[in-house]
């Protein structure tokens, strides 16, 4: 390659020129600084209480959408409720991770049945499950209900079926459960106060 003096000037000029164009803003694809978009902008905020321990922290649940009929709200963020007098917006590692409890792969989504001796679950409809459970309960109650004890005292109890109640369920659930259990004469009935 023979570069003449003229050519050499040309090369230099082109180099300087292209750098100047860049300096003038012709550089391709240079992005501007931008923070991540605030993700809660038009989400729906719902007030709730942390379901774990009994500090009873207030939480704010953010779900997608504005509750329009065609857009079922998916929960996408949970954080502390700053108005709550106890937690004042704070959450512990459990509360701060509530989103992953709501969306846990361990969540159950359909009623299941395991037959005696079986190695697996099989799906069952709610109606079949309720009907079968009710039948089992009634059979057991009818068979083992104790109306009077050995001394002839009226005792009206049923202790061959027991129940453990959820201490993370609401008062309303707890109250209904208590009412149903006692109407059946249940005594083998406990909650998590101890463990």
């Amino acid at each position: 390659m023979q570069v003449t003096r003229r050519q050499f000037f040309k090369i230099c000029a082109a180099g300087v020129g292209s750098s100047s164009l860049v300096a003038l803003g012709f550089a391709p694809g240079e992005a501007l600084a931008e923070v991540r978009a605030f993700k809660l902008a038009r989400t729906t905020e719902t007030r709730n209480t942390c379901p774990y321990c009994s500090v009873g922290c207030g939480v704010l649940i953010y779900s997608l959408g504005d509750k329009a009929k065609n857009a079922p709200g998916e929960i996408m963020h949970i954080e502390g409720d700053p108005d709550h007098p106890v937690n004042r917006g704070t959450l512990c590692p459990k509360g701060a991770g509530l989103l992953d409890f709501v969306h846990s792969p361990g969540r159950l989504t359909q009623p299941e049945y395991r037959a005696p001796g079986s190695k697996e679950w099989t799906p069952i409809s709610w109606d079949d499950a309720f009907t079968r459970i009710a039948k089992l309960m009634k059979d057991d109650r009818d068979k083992n209900f104790i109306a009077k004890n050995d001394k002839g005292e009226t005792v009206n109890r049923w202790v061959s079926t027991g129940m453990l109640a959820a201490s993370a369920s609401s008062n309303e659930t707890g109250y209904l459960t208590q009412k149903i259990a006692r109407s059946l004469g249940m005594l083998a009935f406990d909650n998590q106060a101890r463990v």
């Binding site: 390659m1 050499f8 694809g29």
Partner: protein
């Protein structure tokens, strides 16, 4: 063209240009990361990320082809007393007072110094480059090693670029030289004038 003297074989020319092209690419992609003023050069390689990805591979290629080149040329570049003499006459050389220059072989003292400079710099670039190569090797080195490596890489690359600027300029400046690497031949006059000893060796004159 019987009046031309053969200086480089096709293999030598190819090897040289492989080195030259990969060096230019390495330099351009490297200098893009070296200083913001040159970041625009990364667009020649498809943007900053491609620049970061390609640069080390180009560098490794450069090192490989350079090793071949060095193996081809090192014997001719062994420095001799007359090269030292040549160096003492650098000023005359630069001012085109060629008549005062001592006789030289296939390469003059300046060319040899450049050769050995590059022989030293390329391995340093290769080694420091491997140390800072992400995502492959950098995570294996402690931070302080990375910091030293990245500094050395930059300084050595700079020296290398300076050396090559001198090399390229010299080629352009000394008329008739470029043909040696493009066509493999030089004019007998060129050979006789610039590399008298080599010319004599070839012609016996």
């Amino acid at each position: 063209m019987s009046r031309w003297i053969h200086r480089y074989s096709a293999g030598e020319r190819s090897n040289h240009w492989a080195v030259a092209i990969s060096f230019v690419l390495a330099a351009l992609s490297g200098i893009a990361l070296f200083h913001p003023a040159f970041f625009f050069l990364s667009h020649l390689f498809g943007g900053g990320t491609w620049d970061r990805i390609l640069h080390p591979y180009i560098g490794v290629f450069l090192a490989l082809v350079f090793i071949l080149l060095a193996l081809r040329f090192w014997r001719r570049n062994v420095i001799r007393p007359r090269d030292r003499e040549w160096m003492r006459h650098m000023g005359d050389e630069l001012h085109n007072r060629d008549e005062r220059m001592p006789e030289t072989g296939k390469y003059n003292g300046g060319q040899k110094v450049l050769f050995w400079t590059v022989v030293m710099l390329i391995p340093i670039l290769l080694l420091t480059g491997i140390v800072i190569w992400r995502p492959w090797f950098a995570p294996a080195f402690p931070l302080v090693v990375l910091r030293i490596a990245v500094l050395i890489h930059a300084v050595v690359a700079w020296l290398m670029i300076l050396a090559i600027i001198v090399h390229v300029y010299a080629a352009l400046w000394v008329k008739g030289s470029v043909r040696a690497m493009t066509r493999g031949t030089v004019s007998p006059a060129w050979a006789k004038h610039h590399h008298r000893a080599w010319y004599r060796e070839l012609t016996g004159k």
